[in-house]
């Protein structure tokens, strides 16, 4: 059940003299939700456009279910569904007409599947209304419906929660998990929000300036990164004490920052016993910026 559905090798893209993507390698398995994390401008969208055949890579190869996107475009694309950026559908057609339009581009399409997909994204009530009357969330759902029309094995979603309200974001998240777990799809989700990736992905690739910095499971990545913030007086004494046990940083607000650890209760007792008052211990989920600072060793996110 863990076949490789999407594999990327040595992917590069040069536009003019600037190399935008500087060699990407990663593989996706069936049934997993894969996060593609990076700040705006890191090359996420360019990479995704290469994956779906909109942009030709300068070098490297992309295989969807074993078919080369460049050489076997039609076969590769019949296993792939995608939304690139916003789901731009034809506003003057109804939701149903939009779906029929795209279904006519799929060889041997079974029209029963159309109804199934509409039910899946819960658009039955509004499917015969013109798309221009849809809310953004409905458009997003219709976008997913069109991506699912061809029974893809790989689903690529570029910033799927962009512009949705909290309710919509939650629905989308659950839906993506459902597709991966129940339908066995490989879902690639790009985002610039760590929290989002954290909540829905199994694995994540962190990308910056056209390079993959790290590919790991979400839990590993975050464990490695989570920190504790100590508010103590006197600060200097507390720092010296903690340094004996772990690495300590003094931040701008005169707080002590240490890595998250099971030993924190031990450290706490040590501080108290030595006469340092501990006012507050806070577990801090790192921001994307922190993560990048950590991973790139101080290079800024820009």
């Amino acid at each position: 059940m863990t076949e490789i559905t999407l594999s990327i090798k040595g992917l590069r893209k040069r536009i003019g003299k600037r190399e935008i993507i500087k060699g990407l390698d990663f593989e996706l398995k069936s049934g997993e939700v894969f996060g593609f994390l990076g700040p705006n401008g890191a090359g996420k969208t360019t990479t995704i456009r290469m994956l779906v055949g909109l942009i030709r890579p300068t070098a490297g190869s992309i295989h969807v279910c074993g078919y080369d996107v460049k050489r076997d475009f039609v076969k590769a694309m019949s296993h792939l569904g995608c939304i690139v950026e916003n789901p731009e559908l034809y506003p003057y057609l109804t939701g149903m007409e939009n779906l029929q339009h795209f279904s006519r581009m799929i060889p041997d399409f079974d029209s029963k599947h159309l109804e199934y997909v509409v039910k899946l994204v819960r658009l039955q009530d509004r499917i015969n209304d013109p798309v221009k009357t849809y809310s953004l969330g409905m458009r997003q759902r219709l976008g997913i419906a069109q991506a699912l029309l061809g029974r893809p094995k790989v689903l690529i979603l570029d910033e799927p929660t962009n512009g949705l309200d909290p309710m919509g974001i939650r629905e989308m998240r659950e839906f993506i998990r459902f597709l991966a777990e129940k339908e066995g799809l490989t879902v690639l989700v790009s985002s610039h929000l760590l929290s989002e990736i954290q909540l829905m992905c199994d694995r994540v690739a962190v990308i910056s300036k056209g390079r993959v910095i790290k590919v790991d499971t979400v839990s590993n990545l975050l464990n490695f990164q989570e920190q504790l913030v100590w508010k103590v007086t006197p600060v200097e004494k507390g720092r010296k004490l903690l340094q004996t046990a772990t690495s300590v940083i003094l931040d701008e607000e005169k707080q002590l920052v240490t890595p998250l650890s099971e030993n924190s209760s031990v450290w706490n007792r040590m501080l108290v016993e030595n006469g340092v008052e501990v006012h507050e211990i806070q577990r801090k989920v790192p921001t994307l910026e922190d993560l990048f600072l950590e991973l790139t060793g101080g290079e800024s996110v820009e």
Binding site: R49, V52, G53, L54, I55, R56, F73, V74, K75, M77, S78, L80, C82, V84, E85, N86, P87, E88, L89, Y90, P91, Y92, L93, E97, H101, F102, R104, M105, I106, P107, Q146, G150
Partner: protein, 326 residues
């Protein structure tokens, strides 16, 4: 492929392109019908009777007078000279070049509209057929289907050809019906002369043929259709090359208007005859008016236009298939 063409027809129809074009045609044709009607009224007032020979003779005299006025360009003079000789030929052979009735209106309307009106209508459909998908972003959905890019573009082109065909036919029908209400519906069998050529400003009548008006109209609309396809193909190419619909419309419009202006100026600039916009007036050859550059013939113009269209198609496809879509 049929399904793809169906998709493109669906989009053209649902974008209300055809309806807009039909509405424009209906309004303008009504306008021209009214203008023509007033002209006939004026003739009756001025001349007392409406025998066509009298009218034609008067037209000949009027044209001759214009010929002698100073400050008239050589190109225009040649045109007028040919026209006088032609009118005289009609008169001598006792054939009315303007048998009253809707078919005559249709015939002259097609002749007048081939250089600007029809191309403009076609541009409404052709100019945004690719660029609108690009500006709306739907091109990303279109190109990530399991269909080769050239097939998608081809389906768009075929849909364009079909739309052009129905627009041209509808123009004929509308012109016939609207003008028929005013001028009557008869006159399909009226005799018409074609095959005039001009050699050195002199009318050559050795190949003149007498045909029924319905034959002439069919030929004429065939030519209008061909011009519409060529203009459509060029707009199609611009639509692929330029992201904005208004930019491609602007470029095309500038070319067409430049063509109209140049046609009256270029008789001494030989190589201008290879420009597509100089060659658009194909119906002029049928009617026998003198060409913009001496020596141009119907087959020459058709050839030039065909070459332009083939190059445009080639450029469209090779760019579209390779293009990176952002």
């Amino acid at each position: 492929m049929n399904k793809l063409i169906h998709n493109e027809m669906l989009k053209i129809i649902r974008k209300r392109k055809l309806i807009v074009v039909i509405a424009i045609m209906a309004v303008l044709i009504s306008l021209f019908t009214y203008a023509q009607f007033r002209e006939v009224q004026r003739q009756i007032e001025k001349l007392g009777d409406v025998d066509w020979r009298t009218t034609l003779q008067q037209q000949i005299v009027d044209t001759q007078n214009r010929l002698t006025s100073s400050g008239i360009s050589d190109e225009w003079k040649a045109q007028l000279q040919i026209r006088v000789q032609q009118q005289q030929y009609y008169l001598d052979n006792n054939i009315n070049p303007a048998e009253p009735g809707a078919p005559t209106f249709v015939r002259s309307f097609a002749q007048e509209s081939i250089t600007l009106f029809v191309p403009l209508l076609i541009m409404i459909v052709a100019a945004d057929i690719v660029s609108s998908e690009r500006s709306a972003g739907t091109v990303k959905l279109l190109l990530t289907r399991p269909v080769k890019r050239w097939k998608i573009l081809l389906s768009k082109y075929v849909a364009l050809l079909l739309s052009i065909s129905i627009i041209v036919v509808l123009m004929g029908l509308l012109a016939y019906v609207i003008s028929g209400v005013v001028f009557g519906f008869g006159g399909w069998k009226a005799p018409i002369l074609t095959g005039f050529t001009s050699i050195g400003g002199e009318l050559n009548t050795s190949h003149v043929q007498l045909i029924d008006q319905w034959q002439y109209i069919l030929m004429e609309f065939g030519l209008v259709w061909f011009v519409a396809i060529v203009v459509g193909t060029l707009s199609f190419m611009l639509s692929v090359l330029l992201k904005s619909t208004s930019a491609s419309m602007g470029v095309m419009l500038a070319a067409l208007i430049a063509g109209l202006i140049l046609s009256n100026l270029v008789s001494s600039w030989q190589s201008a005859k290879y420009l597509f916009m100089i060659n658009l007036d194909l119906t002029g050859y049928l009617a026998g008016s003198s060409p913009p550059v001496p020596g141009m013939t119907l087959l020459f113009s058709i050839g030039v236009l065909a070459v332009w269209a083939v190059i445009a198609l080639f450029v469209s496809f090779s760019v579209f298939v390779r293009q990176d879509v952002y």
